[in-house]
Symmetry: C2
Subunit: 398 residues, 2 copies
């Protein structure tokens, strides 16, 4: 019972659980926002009970007919009795309309708020079973317990635990970007394993990051569930065994708190002046042993904002090198800064501003303060004087 | 006297004027901001007087040594006595430091504010000759008149007219993106000519657009100068003969006023709902005879903001299709809208907003109003109800 195509993979995970994974190389911008050249997968899980099949989450919107067809081909469609939806975002709920059309009257299980969201998104009324936090539901010979994990990352997010197979289904939580054909994260080693955690970090920061305080609130509950599970089965990425899932939970705490020692430098340079100053600063910091990540918006470079934000959850200091542009903050830096604060919170921030005929980069400090950031230092100079600021900035960082 | 290399072209324009054009295929982001897959050129003009050579503007920063080398090779360097700088942006002033080093004591001519900006950018003090608005300067047998055109697009922007050759040097004004080896715009015809005006429009909107009111204020003066010139010689793009320059001035007036009849639709669609509604709207509008430009930020598409803004100067109606994202305006749409208003001003704007669990897109209306836009209409619905808004929106546009 294993199938690998260009489009999806299918394999058995435990006695009653199979993974049906859509491989998506085509999405360039996750949520229409985050650049993901690495692609992404959507895991739908087939759970076989004595009274019928439970589908745990579906595929991305646009692949509904495909999913119905594959389930039919696998002989699963005729046995389908329930769909568990862990939250309503259409990368997981996207096949609901087609599935309900193929199986009228099928029971959808989810957070009490989800039925309203199903109607809001798909304009359909379904046979809906809401589940309370901690509620156990018996389906045939199997027992699921549902746990509310609000705002990870939708208001009505839940996770579910299948007792018989010791599988915890976590949907977006502990998920990752990347297209993988393996079953388990433990099949990856060395650089591939490190890359996976990098992509998981990027995913966390991009998708869950804004709700980092809710992550911290749910983490105790999640860790308890992880510890009694054999497998943690997210909707993106690979299945994690207990040890890897516990490690991922540890990373989640670290990322949610942004307690890393990295220095993140983001700058624009219209004509090279800011770049020269920032490079000098970065070299000095590196020579002092700091880990420095540098992202440059210049005449020939434009970094992926998804990756800047991914790095940011490991940084405790942010340096912004920025030009004045038509008497305003250079637009891309303003945009990136807003996203950084939204997704990863405030950090100790040092602004290195420059101007030719009008210095207005101090507005970036004002903007950060209006977003609640308190530790913001501001330095500005004309292009030819920028280098002279480096010594002062070093002192603030040290 | 004509030379074409991979890097630059050189040819005679009139008896005393030669064009020395750097071909820049490498800049992907003009001003580190505007996507220009078409590239750009920098025209420096060599003007030969009886008492020495005047260089009119230089090349982009980073090409200073190259320019000095080429001038030396052409036998011009030893004769160089003056540099006219029409404004200090480093895509034109970028070789000043190297030229002054090669020719200590050379006279730099510019707006009275420019000497301070030379020091601010390059940290050098130069032999500077400020020119008043309307001032005539005789160099050898030649007569230049200088005209102040403030804020096109720097505060100290000037243009200069060479009487003997009837050449008007306009620097950024009437310039264009694109890499061209031709001498004159009139050498292009058909689709190539249309493409040139499209690139000039994009350049105008991106670079000069924010100062559109100043364009209108200077346009009378410029048109008068254009009419007595035989050639209008900008620092980007091709040289224009009187007729083409007068036409370009006409377009500048139109673009500065954004009086076109185009409808510009810019939207994001996370999961296809907004896209479906917007496509329906666009089809209906097209069937009614409107010219519609549509730009979509989706899972697999990301348009060039430089081109959206280029189109915007021909639009009088803006439709924004936008998702709620984490209880805020979808970030790219907020960013693009801010740039659109900054560069092309307010238009009649219709917002088509959607939300799943929290509708906050009305904040986009508030934001536009805070930017001074008065005619803003707002409609919102859940994804499944979006289509129902189309009829109302059509009525507002009609």
């Amino acid at each position: 019972m294993c199938f690998v195509s260009e489009e999806y993979v299918y394999f058995k995970l435990t006695e009653n659980v199979e993974v049906l994974r859509l491989l998506d190389y085509e999405t360039k911008y996750f949520e229409a926002l985050w650049e993901i050249p690495e692609g992404v997968v959507y895991n739908s899980y087939i759970v076989r009970s004595s009274s019928g099949v439970v589908l745990v989450d579906t595929w991305r919107i646009g692949y509904g007919d495909k999913l119905v067809g594959v389930l039919d081909k696998l002989g699963v469609l005729s046995e389908l009795t329930h769909i568990i939806t862990h939250h309503l975002e259409p990368d997981h709920s996207g096949a609901l309309a087609e599935l309900v059309e193929a199986k009228p009257g099928i029971t959808i299980i989810g957070h009490p708020l989800s039925s309203k969201l199903i109607e809001a998104h798909y304009g359909i009324k379904v046979n809906f079973k809401p589940v309370r936090d901690g509620e156990e539901v018996k389906i045939g010979n199997l027992h699921f317990t549902f746990h509310h994990t609000p705002w990870l990352h939708w208001p009505e997010t839940i996770v579910s635990y299948l007792h018989e197979d010791k599988v915890l289904f976590t949907c977006d939580v502990f998920g990752s970007y990347g297209v993988y054909r393996e079953k388990l994260l433990s099949e990856l080693s060395g650089g591939e394993r490190a890359r996976y955690f990098n992509l998981a970090r990027k995913y966390f920061a991009n998708v869950v990051g804004h709700y980092r305080d809710f992550v911290l609130r749910s983490l105790g509950k999640l860790l308890e569930l992880v510890r009694k599970s054999e497998y943690v089965a997210p909707a993106h990425g690979l299945v994690l065994e207990t040890r890897d899932a516990a490690y991922m939970a540890e990373l989640y705490e670290k990322w949610a708190k942004s307690t890393g020692s990295r220095i993140l430098i983001v700058y624009n340079s219209m004509y090279g002046f800011v770049e020269k100053a920032v490079n000098k600063l970065a070299e000095t910091l590196k020579s002092k042993g700091y880990t420095v990540s540098t992202y440059a918006f210049t005449w020939n470079r434009r970094p992926l904002i998804s990756e800047i934000i991914g790095d940011a959850v490991e940084a405790s200091v942010l340096v912004l090198g920025v030009s004045t542009y038509e008497n305003k903050i250079f637009p891309i830096i303003e945009y990136t800064t807003r996203l950084l604060v939204h997704k990863t919170g405030c950090k100790k921030t040092i602004i290195l501003g420059t101007y030719g005929w009008g210095g207005k980069v101090s507005e970036l400090k004002t903007m950060l303060e209006s977003l609640g950031c308190r530790e913001v230092y501001y330095y500005e100079a004309t292009p030819s004087q920028l280098q002279d600021l480096i010594k002062d900035i070093e002192k603030v960082i040290a």
